[in-house]
Symmetry: C3
Subunit: 643 residues, 3 copies
């Protein structure tokens, strides 16, 4: 199946008489998909129980007749104002105890039963009406769960639901007290009804309390989504997706994704660079109009895992956005590059957000493929060019990664709960490892933390893993090469306690972390033979063979068999060197790519992406700024062997 | 009419037996005016309905007999504690939902009807009693509206009033929905009573919602003030003023000022430098004890416009203040310089704040003309010297500016609502343009956004204007030279939407902004021929002639006729070069003044102000540090022609 | 009496069957004391009125029989969850108006009468049961009053109590109005019931209002503690202590300490360096694993004063902690160094916190003497080494300081209330003076602000003193050398007003501060002859002889007799030079110690402490990194004379 292009469209924003022309222009541009409906509740049900489906019927018909396939969104991210009157307590409450009011979007608490019922009602109506509509070829639930920090709510509804969740999990308050260690500071509870949400405590709450709250909150999102999926399933055979947002880790995407056929995400490379990336000012300046060269790829690989192979970009930035601290425009070529990078990582479809820039309301400064005056915006020509590329392209296919990297949402919550050093962040840690692999020119597969079979990768990485799942523990020996665990891996029990024996407790590796240190910025612990650790250090004891040492004599990297442990946060260069050595050991070919150049192999093709603002000559070929080139892989391999 | 000096005085703070001596010392120092009464409500009405006017009668008599003219303030900025008991809901609420409690000042919400009635009651009593008092020669309403972020309140009273205001404006919820674009994100309302204030939304509220709230809040201030003015008018012929605070843009001073004869403002140059100016640390260090060389002048010119020619400095910093992050003392000479600069810009009067430093309460560290022990403070001798200058000085007069600059409060609200780049700020933008003009040695007139006649200026500047008013649009062709519009000018409709055709939509200039970019600090877009844009860029299309281009080929400055458009935020040097070119074109003579030197021409005199800490030799004359010199203009022109 | 070692232990955290072994290992390590019980309320009274003392009986017996002496803590810092149900309004409220909820510790408002009664009840039960227990050799009240900003509460209980406190102090609202200067801004009250807590005012509240609130809050802590002490006294003869926390100045430790035999504090050098010290990044990097070389010593000397000679370190950091922004591990040797530094300053005992690292709850990342797996942690060997040192050491004794330094909690509150410059901080000021004295190699005594006899010191320093107490004023002439007052000293009346005549109003020194300036970072006022002032400057007039002048000619240091005044905040080098001159004048021998080396003399010994990460050669001897060496003082004196 060849990948396809699409676009997000809001028929309710425009006069009905321009819908046909819009549809025609979409098709002419080479687009296949049109996503609609996900914010339209106030138009579908303008007053409680008063429905207006006619316009949507007509919109789907017009778009379908134009030749487009519709992705229909459930509108539950934007309950109308009357819904708040019906359920005044459905609004979320922030960690400071403030009501999060109506007037934008995502103004609901996942735990509110009344709102959930209304969501099920509207989804049922939509599913019944459009489940068998021939133009509706896919569904999207809600929109960007977790965006605007909406996973965690400190409302009365959340408190009640949390108590229920704890009751289900622990059965008795004593069990909970023991699991959390509530003897500490006399925090013991005699009833689940005594337990509050872990905000506004005098000093830090018990990390076990916070961790369970994070798990609960994630479960609430999963349950909320599942209620919609269950309804849709009864009425449609079309695949169901949700559009995740970049670097949102507040709920477990693997658990949510397990309920749906397709994972999708919303890719805003330039916004993310400005808003969601720890990087030097120099790095941000160098990639100002291109976005980070690894941030999107990481999410592509992540959502390929979440979708068990089937994934989309549901929203692709086509020009400047409105929501980042600074909003420059993409360098010419980047819209095409981003699209092709998604395809090279296996995306089935890439949909641009949005068709026409809205001249009104919150996102009026967000570019579309059309300008607000309906003229072509720069992004449209790049979409068209990409569509043209596709018509000429052979089968792309996909292939396993050269290496695999474990990503675990629980770990993100755990280290957010207990960073121990002010700048310790799980995503940042894993992303640094991912970037190192990309600089080595490798295809990376991302794995969930309960992966049970590692036989497809000669190198598997797992930095910062909160707890080692039984499945992954069992799978370690299925890896034909090395599993490299990184700092803090398996350092806690599921109850957020330090295990005994001391961590990391890895199979076949006799080593115990006896002490950890967090370091302020600017402080480095040198390693013997060059390089160093920053942010985080661990002292170890045990008989495992020491492969690298710190300048103070402590072990830094231990194990030379199937299981290896890196006891610190390496500088970028150091990490790359360590990983290259491991690749060499296992015969995995690596490159030494420049900062802006990235490579991706598919079944049939080798892609090169120049994320830089200047041309790069590589392997005898000039890759233009913001350029993407590909060759049949056979040819590359020949060439690369010659190098 | 020669300008005069005055001072702010609080008879209620001091034993009655020193009033006569204080009055005598004021007159001996050359002061004409004494402002009193504006915080004395608890002394005028110590208990509800229990009045004590005797002390104020005597204070006015004593000061009047000493030869002083009294400015009498209404005490509505400081309602007594019993007022809060009477109207518990009169307190404002901040954007975080917290009550803003009694215990300092400005503790009221402009929308509270009950408090407004009490204000009208006390103002009526004062007006009746002192409206014809021969010593009371001017009135001040309230004190520093908007200071301490008090324009915006999120109280119940404000919510109710906002709904009324919206009802008046839109008549029907559907009209409002369409104007705001509430179809976006299902934000549609079915009744005005569903509309909340735009705070604490999950993510950003609709900018049209915020913009109307900002207009409403400004209107509430105007109405609150008008209620007082209407009462005073019935009882007095003396002019009425309000004392605005520096860089307060939360309400429309032009609209408020239209109701009064005189505009006045409170000038604290050193406090403003520390607290309210974006500038490099080096700039702040260089002007540490002098204040910024343009900040005061900008406000002088602004309030000359607000007062339609009649304006005062109601409070002039005479020494260190207490409220800025850091509070150094003025360099010797600066108090006189500041005073003369106000006069050179046309001030009728400059009043120092305050007579004697209070040894108690919040402002005990705020210098006065007297020390707390009643000895002369350093400021007093400079006031005396200025008074002496005045006795020797001929007619000063005033004259039109060489150029004009439009200032628009709505634009400040608009870009505060939707900066698009984190550091975009309208005041900052306009002030950069003002500074450039001052460095070129020009007299500047500031114009309100509805100016209807530009025939007096060969160069008119309008950067960042939210919408082009019909009046100003019609007036463009009255300008005998060039009207230069700047970035974001006319970029929105009054409903806060992107217009179609695209902005700037300027008369006679075929150009459309097709895309904008905001840039982080440190990033520059070079211009061909030197210079560059920072912060903000716009791409354009159209047939207007291109006068300057960006290094990437895009147009930067278009139009060579009466209307010109600058499509970015220029670096300071770049802006000065562009403006100098325009001045040259129109025969407006410019200078190239050093950083610390400023010039101001009046009808008869040319003033030079050295804001620096070191002497400057200019035009053959040494101007001492913190010094002001003047010459008859005839002489200057002769000389300047020789240069 | 030789100093002793101890440890903090939580028998309730561990299975009862390992208590005997734990006790044995403590004794074997050379420990004498074991502190227990201070967070165990939920285990002593698991349900209201249901008591479980058995386990504590057994724990005391086991530990006592092992040879340990028990410090028994009252558990009032951690009321159980059921207590909140009993007194829902006992929780404190923060300055933003948010309830500070259950779920960690210190969750109570000092003003709540109901909670106080429950505290008295549990303390009575403990005192009755263990007051005569032969193993209980000391008591601790509560835990770390003021930690986590818990001194100030804005609850209803606090408001009611504050009104009572004001009523007691002022007797009539008019008295209060006059004292506070409430005529300013019409802030006058007609009844004590009109007075609110000074939070959430529109702009800053009256500093006199805040200052009285700070005094009230401190008094509440003192009264809360006294209620416990009074009960304990009736049942035990053992000494009573409280464990203060580093750099907590929100209540008056002198007043609290006056009720108890022993002062103690909790010393976390590496945590404090990261969390509670204004210092350059270079300084923090240099002392990353050692802590600041003066911070602990300052507190040692402070608590020696608070305890009137008797003081302990109740909690000593033994490894990495969990609560600072960054948590590195101590350099080998530092645990011993810290312990010896405490002894050299006169500590009776040093107890390590804690015995075994808890694997669960909030402090699971806080090191103990044992690891969570019960193996020895690195700190244990240093504790053991110190115990061994002690067995070989002769009498240490103590001696008066070479100089004295006044420390005043009211001044900390005052300048927190009215900093006048954003970075003015009283502790920071006094600590800079303390550090200068230490760099000069001097023993320092810290004095309370009401010290009545200065005859033991030839040099007494008092920077930043809010008001000069009658006792200290009277004592000035008892000093045989010089009393040096520093900036802002005696600059306010007790009512927080500027006195007349102007400050500093020092006996025998004709000088008045006529104006003060605060300066932003990076701005310096040079002094004639080198050096400079930063942060703060004062202009003076008067006839006192001028010893140092500023480069602008103003006096900087005045007085050459028994009373001297320094009118600014000197740079560190400048301060050291000024103090060295004064020492020379009075024959006090000074050294010029390197940044990391410190000296302390006791009756019999001279100690050298190398806080650096590199060896230092001093006086012909190499002192290793993180090393402490001592000699008999007689020998040193001989040697030092030879230098």
């Amino acid at each position: 199946m060849k990948p396809t292009l699409g676009v997000c469209y809001y028929p309710e924003h425009w006069p009905e008489d321009i819908w046909p022309q819009d549809g025609r222009r979409m098709v002419e541009a080479g687009l296949t998909w049109v996503r609609i409906g996900e914010f339209a509740w106030s138009r579908l049900e303008p007053a409680p129980g008063h429905y207006e489906f006619g316009w949507l019927d007509r919109a789907i018909a017009v778009l379908g007749k134009a030749g487009l396939r519709v992705v229909l969104g459930t509108p539950t991210a934007t309950p109308p104002r009357w819904m708040i009157a019906r359920h005044p307590d459905m609004l979320a409450v922030d960690a400071q105890g403030r009501l999060r009011k109506f007037g934008s979007r995502r103004h609901y608490c996942f735990s509110h039963r009344g709102y959930l019922e209304d969501c099920k009602r509207i989804v049922t109506l939509l599913a019944e009406r459009y489940g068998r509509n021939p133009h509706v070829a896919a569904w999207q639930t809600d929109n960007e769960y977790g965006c605007h920090d909406t996973t965690l709510s400190y409302s009365d509804a959340a408190r009640a639901a949390f108590r229920d969740w704890l009751g289900q999990k622990y059965q008795s308050p004593d069990m909970l007290n023991r699991a959390w260690g509530n003897v500490f500071w006399s925090m013991e509870y005699r009833s689940f009804d005594e337990i509050d949400l872990p905000n506004l405590t005098v000093t830090e709450p018990n990390p076990a309390h916070v961790m369970d709250f994070r798990r609960f909150a994630s479960d609430q999102v999963v349950a909320f989504n599942r209620a919609q999926v269950d309804i849709l399933r009864r009425h449609t055979d079309a695949p169901i997706a949700h559009n995740y947002m970049g670097r949102v880790t507040d709920f477990d995407h693997f658990k949510l994704g397990a309920d749906m056929e397709i994972a999708s995400w919303d890719s805003y490379p330039i916004g993310f660079l400005s808003d969601r990336l720890e990087a030097s000012a120099a790095h941000k300046a160098a990639f100002l109009r291109q976005g980070d060269p690894d941030f999107q790829a990481f999410h592509h690989d992540l959502y390929r895992a979440v979708g068990r192979g089937r994934w989309w970009v549901m929203e692709q930035q086509p020009g400047p956005v409105n929501w980042a601290p600074y909003n420059p425009a993409p360098l010419p070529g980047m819209v095409r590059l981003w699209t092709w990078e998604a395809f090279a990582h296996g995306a089935e479809a890439v949909c641009y957000f949005r068709w026409r820039q809205a001249p009104f309301a919150q996102e009026q400064m967000h570019a579309g493929l059309l300008r607000p005056d309906s003229a072509d915006a720069p992004g449209l020509s790049e979409a068209r060019e990409t569509a043209h590329d596709l018509t000429n392209l052979p089968y792309i296919g996909s292939r396993d990664g050269d290496v695999a990297l474990v990503f675990d949402y629980e770990s993100a919550w755990a280290w957010d709960t207990q960073p121990q050093g002010a700048d310790f962040d799980y995503f940042r840690l894993v992303f640094a490892w991912y970037r190192a692999l990309r600089r080595l020119g490798l295809n990376v597969d991302i794995l969930p933390p309960d992966t049970g079979d590692l036989s497809r990768w000669k190198l598997v990485l797992a930095p910062g893993l909160f707890t080692l799942s039984p499945d992954l523990r069992a799978a370690v020996h299925s890896c034909p090469g090395t599993v490299l665990f990184g700092p803090r891996a398996n350092s806690k029990t599921g109850d957020f306690a330090i295990p005994d024996p001391l961590p990391p407790g890895l199979p076949g590796l006799d080593v115990r972390v006896t002490r950890v240190e967090s370091l302020p910025p600017g402080v480095t612990m040198d390693l013997e033979g060059g390089g160093g650790f920053v942010h985080w250090l661990e002292d170890m004891e045990g008989t495992a063979p020491v492969m690298r040492r710190r300048a103070d004599g402590q072990a830094a990297l231990v194990g030379n068999g199937p299981v290896t442990y890196l006891a610190g946060w390496p500088q970028d260069d150091t990490l790359r060197a360590i990983l290259r050595d491991l690749c060499d050991t296992h015969g995995i070919e690596t490159l030494d790519l420049p900062d802006a150049l990235r490579k991706r192999d598919t079944d049939t093709l080798r892609f090169w992406f120049n994320h830089g603002a200047h041309p790069i000559v590589w392997d005898g070929q000039e890759i233009p700024a913001a350029g993407v080139v590909w060759k049949a892989r056979a040819e590359c391999y020949t060439k690369s062997r010659e190098i």
